[in-house]
């Protein structure tokens, strides 16, 4: 009996190894067909069949690690999709930043040349500074507005559900549409309300303020929703206890509610920080970089944020490699800033 079982295992093992090998060969064959430019219509099927055989082989192989293999198999689709859509492009992006890639092909490696050119160009340095300023103001304004609105929507005011929906609504409109609508408002409506005034979008500082206004108006409702849940999750018993102890509204707010929902603040500040940094659609639609500002006798686009700068480098200048380089640095900066913020905020959170 034992002999039979052992034989069985041996057969099983040979069989699964065979399956893996055949599957592997099929995959290689299909890939070869594709790379060599063959138009054979079965190459997709061969690839799939090969992959299925490999999976079957791996699954059937008799081993103690069987459970682990099953786990990996189930994770595979997700990991595969993530790799294809995120990891591979990301790695390729870093790779391209060291070449003279044109969007079609590259002919040589240029080393750190792109990085050096990038930091030497005034427009990039300027857009870095202006993005930073925008981020600071926008983070402050959005969170202030959102938290105030959240307090309003959790108070006993009448029709608070209506307010909640109304404040959230701007967030449902796409940024580009919103941008053009607001551009019209700044250019036409405001100039006729304050008759004779020039459009806000023609002055560098006011144009930045205009983007800040729209961005706050659009995003505050979304952040408000998160604050509302935060405020509602503060335990009632603690609030009651503070009431018994004679804490007034302000003390309740600053000493109890806000510390108790510190993790909500972490999330909201993180979201606004990352979002302001990556601001693109409103920027493109409202000003597209205009108006210009004179800086050291040279013109710069006063409201060109980093994302727009990257876009213009790649698309308008047709310098894909340089644009890619800027994008890589953009990622690194964003990662550093946001991780630092999360680290600091986490420290302040209260353990429940």
């Amino acid at each position: 009996m034992k002999g039979v079982k052992k034989l069985n295992i041996n057969v099983k093992r040979t069989l699964s190894i065979l399956e893996i090998t055949v599957g592997f060969i099929l995959i290689c064959f299909a890939l070869y067909l594709d790379v060599s430019g063959s138009e054979h219509s079965m190459r997709g099927t061969i690839l799939t069949a090969g992959a299925l055989l490999v999976i079957l082989g791996v699954y059937c192989i008799p081993t103690r690690k069987h459970r682990a293999i099953v786990n990996v198999l189930f994770l595979f689709p997700l990991v595969f999709a993530f790799a294809v859509t995120v990891l591979v492009p990301f790695a390729l992006g870093i790779f391209y930043s060291f070449t003279n890639w044109t969007g079609i092909r590259f002919t040589e490696f240029v080393g750190l040349d792109n990085y050096i050119r990038m930091f030497r160009s005034r427009d990039y340095v300027y857009s870095f500074v202006i993005t930073f300023i925008f981020t600071v103001f926008n983070m402050f304004l959005v969170n202030l507005a959102a938290f105030s609105l959240a307090l309003l929507c959790t108070s006993n005011v009448r029709g608070k559900n209506f307010y909640r929906a109304a404040f959230f609504l701007p967030n449902l409109i796409g940024g580009i549409v919103l941008g053009y609508v607001w551009q019209f408002i700044f250019n036409k409506v405001f100039t006729s309300i304050f008759a004779g005034s020039a459009s806000m979008l023609t002055d560098p500082n006011l144009a930045l303020l205009a983007i800040l206004m729209v961005s706050t108006w659009q995003y505050a409702g979304y952040i408000m929703m998160i604050y509302v849940t935060g405020l509602q999750s503060v335990p009632k018993d603690i609030l009651e206890a503070s009431g018994v102890d004679g804490a007034n509204r302000w003390i309740t707010l600053f000493k109890i509610k806000m510390p108790m929902m510190a993790n909500t603040f972490t999330v909201c500040i993180f979201l606004t920080l990352v979002n302001s940094f990556k601001q693109f659609d409103l920027n493109l639609a409202i000003t597209n970089g205009a108006p210009s500002r004179i800086l050291g006798l040279k013109p710069v686009s006063s409201t060109e944020f980093m994302a727009l700068n990257i876009y213009k480098t790649a698309i308008a200048k047709n310098e894909y490699a340089l644009g890619q380089t800027k994008a890589v640095v953009f990622f690194v900066i964003l990662a550093i800033v946001s991780l630092t913020q999360v680290y600091i905020s986490k420290k302040k959170e209260v353990e429940m």
Binding site: Y59, V70, I104, S121, N187, A290, P291, K312, A316, K317
Partner: protein, 436 residues
């Protein structure tokens, strides 16, 4: 055991679902149109597929393609991109996905550099000898098929000029414009207009009008079509200060007599509406506004005058082909493409399509069909008289208008620069940009 089987089956299905995405490339040639492309492009193997960059003529081209198929049996699929789509980016995607069309649009020297390796030599074609607007590579080979001529200068409202007693034919130098602008400005109430001209110089959206089109006159006005003096200087980062100075004077004139609101914050629509509603006498746009005129119920006669910025006379306007079609050299239907292009350029149906249906001007000397829209007629008279200058500005470094010089024009329009500062800053911007 049953459970196990189920698990394996599920895993396999998921795997298959992920993998099939990679394998089905061959079956779906041409079906990956994006949301804002106008056409369905389900093509069979022998059909030729064209990526057209002018969405306005999509319908007309499709109608022509249909009649072409009836005539010859050759299926032609038109895929139109436009309305803000980044055509180059889309094409790069097509190339990477092995889904290149048989013919694609490209817009000048910059694009040519990008796509040079993928273009077929079309010098031997019948139409190539019948036009001076074909795109020629550095070695003299014809690679771009011209389908239209566009031209611009300063478009005028003939009724207003007549009322003011100004002959548009005399607008050929700086002094003539200065006198005309002053005269019209003095008669504003009589003529019922708000400003003399409609110009838009905001750098975010109108950079192409100022820093490409108007600046184009600095590069080409008064030169032979193949004279590249000033564009060559610009590519080296240099400018002719005297010429640029005269250009600055003229630009100042334009900006001074323009409607101030539209000048610093107007969009293309604002600029056009102002003129089309009869509130200004001039607008700095070209014959591409023809199709928009009916929307504003324009009934007055109009024409195009040169942006003659020099002291001496320059009587021609800038006219050229705005973009060309190239034949993809690794396509399978190159001969069919060539036949189609020949038909479009030389047959009567083809000429009818381009001129009558699309409202464009044919770049071909053999074309007998006459345009009907007012500005096309006006432009045609310049082309027929050989009174045109080339669009040298399309050879400027890519993105210079959007990223560098457009801002200078805006600052000038806002009055933050005087004439000399404008010249200095523009020269510096060009030098910086070309040095990058």
């Amino acid at each position: 055991m049953k459970k196990r089987f189920l698990a394996v089956a599920l895993a396999c299905t998921m795997m298959a679902a992920t993998m099939t995405g990679c394998g089905s490339k061959a079956d779906s040639t041409g079906s990956s149109t994006e949301g804002n492309t106008a056409s369905e492009s389900e093509a069979s193997g022998d059909a030729i597929r064209i990526v057209n960059g002018k969405i306005e003529i999509d319908k007309q081209l499709k109608a022509f393609a249909e009649s072409y198929e009836e005539k010859t049996g050759q299926e032609v699929v038109i895929e139109s991109l436009g309305g803000g789509v980044d055509i180059n980016g889309t094409l790069k995607g097509y190339l990477a996905a092995d889904n290149m069309p048989d013919m694609f649009v490209f817009g000048g020297a910059g694009d040519y550099k990008t796509w040079a390796d993928y273009m077929t030599d079309l010098s031997e074609e019948e139409w190539a000898s019948q036009t001076e607007f074909a795109f020629k590579a550095e070695d003299g080979k014809t690679v771009g098929f011209p389908y239209a001529v566009e031209g611009y200068g300063i478009t005028y409202n003939a009724a207003i000029l007549e009322q003011a007693g100004i002959d548009p034919a005399g607008l050929t130098n700086y002094d003539a414009y200065k006198a005309a602008f002053e005269k019209i400005d003095g008669m504003k109430e009589e003529l019922g207009i708000d400003a003399v001209c409609s110009v838009a110089a905001e750098s975010g959206q109108m950079y192409w009008s100022t820093a490409n089109h108007i600046f184009g006159y600095y590069l080409s006005a008064g030169l032979e079509r193949d004279d590249t003096t000033y564009i060559d200087m610009l590519k080296e980062g240099k400018v002719d200060e005297k010429r640029l100075g005269e250009f600055a004077d003229f630009t100042k004139l334009l900006f001074d007599y323009a409607d101030p609101t539209v000048l610093i914050s107007g969009t293309y629509d604002d600029q056009l509406a102002l003129w089309a509603q009869g509130k200004t006498a001039f607008v700095t746009q070209g014959n591409w506004i023809d199709p928009s005129l009916p929307t504003y119920n324009v009934e007055f006669a109009c024409g195009i005058a040169p942006l003659a910025f020099l002291q001496e006379d320059t009587a021609g306007v800038l006219a050229d082909c705005p973009s060309w079609w190239a034949v993809y050299n690794e396509g399978k239907n190159i001969d069919a493409c060539k036949a189609f292009l020949n038909d479009l350029a030389t047959s009567e149906e083809g000429q009818n399509c381009l001129v009558k249906e699309c409202g464009m001007i044919s770049p071909y000397t053999t074309c007998t069909v006459e345009p009907e829209t007012p500005l096309a007629v006006a432009l045609k008279s310049y082309v027929d008289a050989g009174n045109t200058y080339a669009w040298q500005w399309t050879k400027m470094p890519e993105g210079i208008a959007q990223n560098a010089t457009g801002s200078v024009f805006e600052l000038y329009a806002r009055g933050e620069l005087d004439r000399d500062e404008f010249v200095a800053m523009l020269s510096a911007a060009i030098a910086d940009y070309t040095a990058q």
